[in-house]
């Protein structure tokens, strides 16, 4: 069935006769149909044959592939479908389970990882898009047996109850402190605003981040 939209928009020729292009926009709506409304641009209708021919010449894409994921400095080959998220690839295929999947919609932050140094939600990232990027998870935070100052501070300040949100908070806290070694309380809250803790440990988390920042500034 033809998309309704194709019918809804006049093509160039009919448009010169009948200026309804902007009638349904706010401006056109007020001006009324055809009352000299300026249709800044209405793209021409596509020609089926043209589009069909061109599409046939183009690359068809893939529904699955083997991708190489660089996680915490280690390279892994993994077979994924196009729809496989980075979170699922890490957890289900590579058994890297630090990133948790709670909401699976970009709302809670439990799946937070760094990709090429930028904080992202692995539940809203396709595994195929992570190919060749530098992925860091909470597993890479400690240096061997030495915990990262943030991890120490989280323990010290009692910043977790069930701990399900903690890997996400640690990743966000690290990104925050990497960019800003001396954040104000307001900056800490904003930096961690993409992470939700259902046990309500926020005050302790904020305290832990501030205390870790202090320690790191002193070179500890």
């Amino acid at each position: 069935m033809a998309d309704r939209h194709d019918e809804a928009r006049p093509d160039e020729s009919s448009q010169s006769k009948n200026k309804t292009g902007t009638r349904f926009t706010r401006r056109g709506f007020l001006k009324g149909a055809g009352a000299g409304a300026v249709t800044a641009a209405v793209a021409p209708a596509i020609l089926v044959s043209e589009a069909g021919k061109a599409a046939a010449q183009e690359t068809e894409g893939v529904m699955s592939a083997t991708v190489t994921l660089d996680v915490n400095g280690q390279s892994h080959n993994v077979e994924v479908e196009a729809r496989t998220t980075l979170a699922d690839a890490l957890r289900d295929r590579l058994e890297i389970t630090g990133p948790k999947v709670v909401c699976d919609r970009g709302e809670c932050g439990a799946c937070t990882v760094a990709m090429d140094g930028k904080l992202v939600f692995s539940c809203m990232t396709l595994a195929m898009d992570a190919q060749g990027r530098k992925i860091e998870t909470v597993e890479g935070l400690a240096d061997g047996d030495n915990l990262h100052p943030l991890q120490e501070a989280f323990i010290e300040k009692d910043a977790l109850m069930c701990g399900f949100c903690t890997p996400g908070f640690l990743m966000s806290s690290k990104a925050l402190l990497d960019a800003n070694g001396d954040p104000t309380p307001e900056e800490v809250r904003e930096g961690l605003s993409g992470n939700i803790c259902r046990c309500g440990t926020y005050p302790h988390v904020f305290e832990a981040v501030t205390s870790a920042a202090e320690k790191m500034r002193k070179g500890g």
């Binding site: 349904f24 401006r27 641009a41 599409a55 930028k118 605003s193």
Partner: protein, 325 residues
């Protein structure tokens, strides 16, 4: 989420041919923060997804004396951190600063933000085959419509969820579109469309067209802007009502006013009556009050969202007084 064929586009010119006649054939993906959510909820079930991130050179912010040009794939974080945006385009800077969370802003693109699909909970639920998804009825009518529209709606009552779009519209931004026959440009006021034109979509874009750039004319040197957003929680949340305002006030008289609401209509909603009312007038408390009344004159609240009218009025009053000060 249903599996699909994934294609990495390599140039803007190539994209229209990778797309199809209908939205079920193929869609483009930028940051994916909206699209993947839609696909997980089966609100979108495309057979093919065309990745735009693989196109080089669509991620830029260029500034000249007349305008700021922002490439479609520029992330919200990059918009937020750009000096020119914080200096001369305050309303945009403030709008982007209150979008979602740092992680989303790192992933989400500016074009993706204005093209994001509705958040209507019936639309996002697999169990409700509503009008917007090609079904027979709107479940917000007679259902729970707390977060739905008070302006410009019917037969669908969605609100446009974007915070960047009202700000861009208040600044008079234009959008560059690329399709099978090349490119064209349209002002945002004419880009977004009401449900009565096409209930399935929120703008004029066709299934085989993409947005390549947003261009924002430089505001007059003596104009000021601000973005006000009211939400339920104070962290990640969409606007209940928001207002993007850009005004030029000289010696207490308003020369130009551009006021665009978010969260109240299926499109970013320009408060034309309020703008007209303010133009050429001295700004006083009572003028601000009258402008606020004018802004909501056409409001048709639904059973559960009458509260939005009061918030909308408050925002107009607040912005007008602040920008005239």
């Amino acid at each position: 989420m249903q599996n699909f064929t994934y294609v990495n586009a390599t140039s803007i010119e190539q994209v229209p041919s990778l797309l199809g006649r209908s939205w079920d054939d193929a869609v483009v993906m930028a940051g994916g923060t909206d699209l993947l959510g839609e696909m997980k909820d089966f609100a979108a079930v495309p057979r093919r997804v065309v990745n735009l991130k693989s196109i080089e050179g669509l991620d830029y912010i260029r500034q000249d004396d007349a305008a700021l040009s922002i490439g479609a794939l520029t992330t919200l974080t990059d918009v937020l951190n750009h000096d020119a945006v914080s200096k001369d385009y305050t309303v945009l800077n403030q709008a982007v600063s209150v979008i979602a969370s740092p992680q989303i802003r790192n992933m989400a693109t500016l074009a993706g933000n204005i093209l994001q699909r509705p958040r209507c909970w019936y639309y996002r639920s697999e169990d409700f085959p509503c009008l917007k998804k090609g079904g027979a009825r709107c479940y917000a009518v007679g259902g729970v419509n707390t977060y739905h529209a008070i302006f410009g709606s019917g037969p669908s009552y969605i609100v446009h969820p974007s915070d960047a779009a009202p700000a861009l519209m208040a600044l008079g931004a234009t959008v560059k579109i690329h399709g099978p026959r090349g490119g064209n440009e349209v002002v945002l006021d004419d880009f977004f469309t009401l449900p009565e034109m096409n209930i399935r979509r929120e703008n004029i874009l066709r299934p085989n067209e993409i947005v390549t750039e947003l261009t924002i004319p430089k505001p007059e040197a003596n104009s000021k802007g601000m973005y006000l957003k009211v939400r339920e929680r104070d962290s990640i949340d969409f606007a209940l009502v928001s207002l993007a305002a850009q005004m030029t006030v000289v010696n207490g008289t308003c020369e130009r006013a551009s006021l665009v609401f978010g969260g109240v209509a299926p499109v970013p909603w320009r408060a034309i009556e309020a703008e007209r009312y303010l133009q050429g007038r001295r700004i006083t408390e009572s003028r601000a009050e009258s402008a606020a009344e004018a802004a909501v004159e056409d409001a048709k609240p639904m059973p559960h969202n009458g509260y939005k009218v009061e918030i909308a009025k408050n925002l107009v009053r607040q912005a007008v007084m602040a920008l005239a000060a």
